[in-house]
């Protein structure tokens, strides 16, 4: 009886691992071909030509800011560098406790204006809206509001926005000058309706920044950031690219995503009660398209590295971030559980959602159960060492292959970390990651699940 039980558990773990690998291999293949296609198709496009286009959608860049006094001026200059025809930059001061607002008012010569706006989305009261007296900054709008969190600040920004699309961005992100032109392109060349586009977010830690632009890209010197670079390669150059190909993308990074404003408003805007507001919005937007509009639509992903962000550099900050991401994911899956395996939602219900549930949410839990199981059967003397070693090598060799391939895709596509030393560091950290970072990530996910449910 006991032996049969062990066989059953063994089979479950093997089948789960094989299914996970099969999914990852499919993602690898899909992302490679999608990336190749994108590069071939876009290599010859001169994006400056869009500046002279007759019909180009107008865009509001919405950046919530909370206690950003140290970097806010530099960050706004970076956003002002954007190349686009018809855009505005809305900085939402989300009730900062430091002097963020005073610094901006003083530096950009802002004055209070009586700008009226439809409060179509629920948000904390707006105290004042400022614009600059200097015409060089006439794209700039500063919204001062009571503190309500990121989702609330984004909703306030959408209320104030006067353009057709909006780009949700973290204020400390550095975007490439032609980022908007590239992000807007899918809205122009698709016969299907495009409701949102996302772009690749890269790590800015240790990079050389001048006048709000990335001048030189370096591999981060910080221990924790080094791991995250591999993680970002895998997530952005592989995962999201493949899901975009299938039109099954469920997340657009909160740090950088362009949305159709009207549809976001109709879907209800950002959910203030969710900690993973970026994931939740995309899922709800998709649900809205399936349930209300019922037309063919797309959520596109662009593999160009257009946005650079600072990632956590301490254990504490990293654990907090990962804990929040897990809670956000679980919350979204549970909120929209009716989409799970529901053919009414097409590929999203039948593939994306089950994938998210089985391989994003459950993977760390199953990993943990596997470790406990291994310890138990070792204590009970039922461990077959040969099989154990073989299976461990099987899992590790796959993990290494997957990471190496993500480095290859990065080299093949944009090769931002072009020097050999950077590449060498990345290869070394693939191995260190498996011993240190992956178990820690599992722990962060478990603690996120624990915090959500208990």
């Amino acid at each position: 009886m006991f032996v049969e039980f062990i066989c059953l558990v063994n089979s479950f773990f093997i089948i789960y691992a094989c299914a996970l690998f099969a999914v990852y291999i499919s993602i690898t293949i899909l992302s490679f071909f999608e990336m190749k296609k994108y590069i071939n198709r876009n290599r010859y496009i001169d994006y400056r030509v869009l500046m002279s286009f007759y019909k180009l959608p107008s865009v509001s860049i919405i950046a919530p800011a909370y206690n950003e006094s140290k970097t806010i001026v530099e960050n706004i200059y970076c956003l002002l560098n954007t190349h686009y025809q018809n855009f505005e930059i809305i900085i939402v001061n989300d009730g900062s406790k430091d002097n963020t607002l005073e610094i901006v008012i003083d530096h950009f010569k802002l004055i209070k204006v009586q700008q009226a706006c439809d409060m179509v989305l629920d948000c904390k009261p707006i105290k004042a809206i400022y614009k600059s007296k200097n015409s060089a900054y006439n794209h700039l709008v500063i919204v001062d509001k009571e503190n309500g969190g990121k989702a609330d600040a984004l909703n306030a920004g959408i209320n104030v926005s006067q353009k057709e699309l909006f780009l949700a961005i973290d204020v400390d992100c550095i975007i490439e000058p032609d980022a908007l032109l590239r992000m807007v392109k899918p809205f122009l060349d698709n016969k299907e309706v495009v409701v949102a586009t996302g772009g690749v977010v890269r790590i800015a830690n240790s990079c050389e920044i001048k006048n709000g632009e990335i001048v030189n890209v370096y591999y981060p010197s910080n221990f924790w950031a080094k791991f995250q670079i591999l993680e970002y390669f895998r997530a952005f150059t592989m995962g999201r690219m493949a899901w975009s190909k299938l039109n099954g993308l469920l997340i657009i990074s909160g740090a950088f995503g362009l949305f159709d404003k009207k549809r976001v408003i109709k879907a209800g805007g950002y959910d203030k009660s969710s900690v993973g507001e970026d994931l939740e919005l995309v899922v709800r937007l998709r649900r809205y398209m399936h349930e209300i509009e019922k037309i063919k639509y797309k959520v596109e992903f662009i593999p160009d590295p257009l946005c650079w962000t600072e990632v956590p550099e301490t254990y504490k900050a990293l654990s907090r971030q990962r804990n929040r991401w897990t809670r956000g994911g679980v919350d979204t899956v549970l909120k929209h559980k009716r989409m799970f395996l529901n053919p009414k939602y097409g590929l999203i219900g039948m593939i994306s959602f089950p994938y998210w549930f089985l391989f994003e949410w459950l993977a760390p839990i199953i990993q943990f159960v596997g470790i406990v199981y291994f310890v138990l059967i070792t204590i009970l003397g039922k461990l077959d060492v040969t099989v154990f070693v073989l299976l461990t090598v099987f899992v590790l060799s796959f993990s290494v292959m997957y990471s190496v391939f993500s480095i290859f895709l990065e080299t093949y596509s944009y090769d931002k970390y072009h020097n050999a030393k950077n590449k060498m560091q990345a290869f070394i950290f693939i191995f260190i990651e498996m011993i240190i970072y992956q178990p820690l990530n599992m722990y962060f996910s478990l603690s996120g699940n624990y915090d959500y449910f208990f």
């Binding site: 009226a116 439809d118 060349d189 099989v387 060799s397």
Partner: protein, 412 residues
């Protein structure tokens, strides 16, 4: 036969690598496994050894580990070679460019006719000697760039040189190539040097790429831009005749690529009345941009036919509106159009001769519609009747007061 030879020419390397990979993977598996069966077919591998001790599934795990490790090593090697290849290519490019620039410029700056002929002959010889596809592309691209960026004698000399160059088989092969990059190269060459004889092929290409999503987004705009450079096609009638549906991107691309000189040659009427919405929209935009108000009634009929989906038609009609009937018509369709068109109508109403009708309408919008419309209406009222604004500023409705304050704050 020609198509097959072209496909073999461009795809041979990839085909070879793919077959090689399949042989290695399947071969490896066959060597490891004693016995494979597909339905009724049984394959026995005689070179593998029987090993009864291990279970079959462990063989498969071992084999997969082997595949993962080999793939990892292959990927690392690929990264190394890819980087090396890139650097090597950069050096080769520099070498070729130096040679071509030197040769072409010595021809362009030749002082006597004799010297010019001599240099030209050398350039023709150089072209014939080039065996490398990449070098040939670089050569033609350099000529194209000089041609585009110069005028006068230098421009004419390049033109004269190109006329005698035997490029036809090369360009045709690239035109028919399965690769997007090659198609684009040939299209740009044909477009910039206005080469005749490809018109029919380009139209066929447009129809063909419509079925290939990977190509259509890039090839189609380039092909359309190439066709409209040719005099026979710059009236855009070919779009209607061939029922070529175009995307927003292509519409924009056509508008900016259209030579200014053919503004009067365009067949506006055929475009506007086309049953394809995209072509009709293109015609309306072009008529609007080029101030062709003689097509006002055609545009109006389009609005009446499909008033819910014709923002461009309303924008154009609003620009051409000049008599009372036009403004009354615009007011009558106001509720059923898009916000962008509504704002445009509100802004243009100041041109209407019936001030009473206009102010009443604007006041109604200020009281009942959304913020953006309220603001546009107040902005127009500001130019028509300041007293109404002062009255609205004291309105009981806080939203109306806020909108008035907004406009006054920004405008005064």
């Amino acid at each position: 036969m020609q198509a097959i030879s072209i496909y073999i020419r461009f795809l041979f390397q990839r085909l070879f690598v793919s077959i090689g990979l399949i042989v290695i993977v399947v071969g490896g598996y066959v060597c490891k496994v004693n016995h494979i069966s597909f339905g009724l077919l049984n394959f026995i591998c005689y070179i593998s050894h029987e090993d009864e001790k291990n279970e079959f599934w462990l063989y498969q795990v071992e084999y997969l580990i082997f595949v993962f490790i080999v793939t990892t090593i292959a990927t690392i090697i690929l990264i190394y070679f890819y980087k090396n290849h890139k650097n090597k290519r950069r050096k080769i490019r520099k070498k070729y460019i130096d040679l071509f620039v030197k040769s072409i410029f010595s021809y362009l700056y030749a002082e006597t006719t004799l010297e010019q002929m001599k240099k030209m002959k050398f350039l023709y010889k150089l072209w014939k000697r080039l065996r490398n596809e990449y070098a040939k592309r670089l050569y033609l691209n350099l000529l194209r760039q000089i041609y585009l960026e110069t005028e006068g004698e230098i421009h004419d000399r390049i033109d004269q040189f190109i006329n005698g160059l035997e490029y036809n088989s090369f360009i045709r092969a690239y035109f028919l190539s399965p690769f997007l990059r090659n198609n684009l190269f040939s299209l740009k060459f044909i477009r910039d040097f206005k080469i005749q004889g490809y018109e029919k092929d380009i139209i066929n290409l447009i129809h063909r790429v419509n079925l290939i999503p990977a190509k259509v987004k890039l090839i189609k705009p380039a092909a359309l831009a190439t066709l409209i450079q040719i005099e026979k096609f710059n009236d855009l009638l070919f779009l209607v005749e061939n029922q070529i549906d175009i995307s927003t991107w292509e519409t924009n691309f056509l508008i900016i690529s259209l030579p200014i000189s053919c503004k009067d040659k365009i067949h506006y009427k055929a475009l506007i009345s086309s049953n394809l919405t995209s072509l009709s929209t293109l015609g309306i935009i072009l008529a609007n941009l080029n101030g062709k108000n003689e097509f006002k009634n055609d545009i109006k009929s389009k609005i009446i036919y499909d008033r819910y989906n014709n923002e461009e038609a309303i924008l154009a009609f609003a620009s051409f509106a000049d008599d009372l009937n036009d403004f009354e018509f615009l007011i009558s369709i106001f509720k059923v159009t898009t916000e962008i068109a509504q704002i445009r109508i509100l802004k243009l109403l100041i041109k209407c001769s019936n001030v009473v009708l206009t102010t009443q309408f604007l006041e109604r919008v200020v009281k009942n519609d959304s913020y953006p419309l309220k603001i546009a209406a107040i902005q127009s009222l500001l130019q028509l009747d300041m007293f109404i604004i002062l009255k609205l500023k004291k309105s009981d409705n806080i939203v109306v007061r806020q909108a008035c304050n907004h406009v006054l704050d920004f405008n005064m």
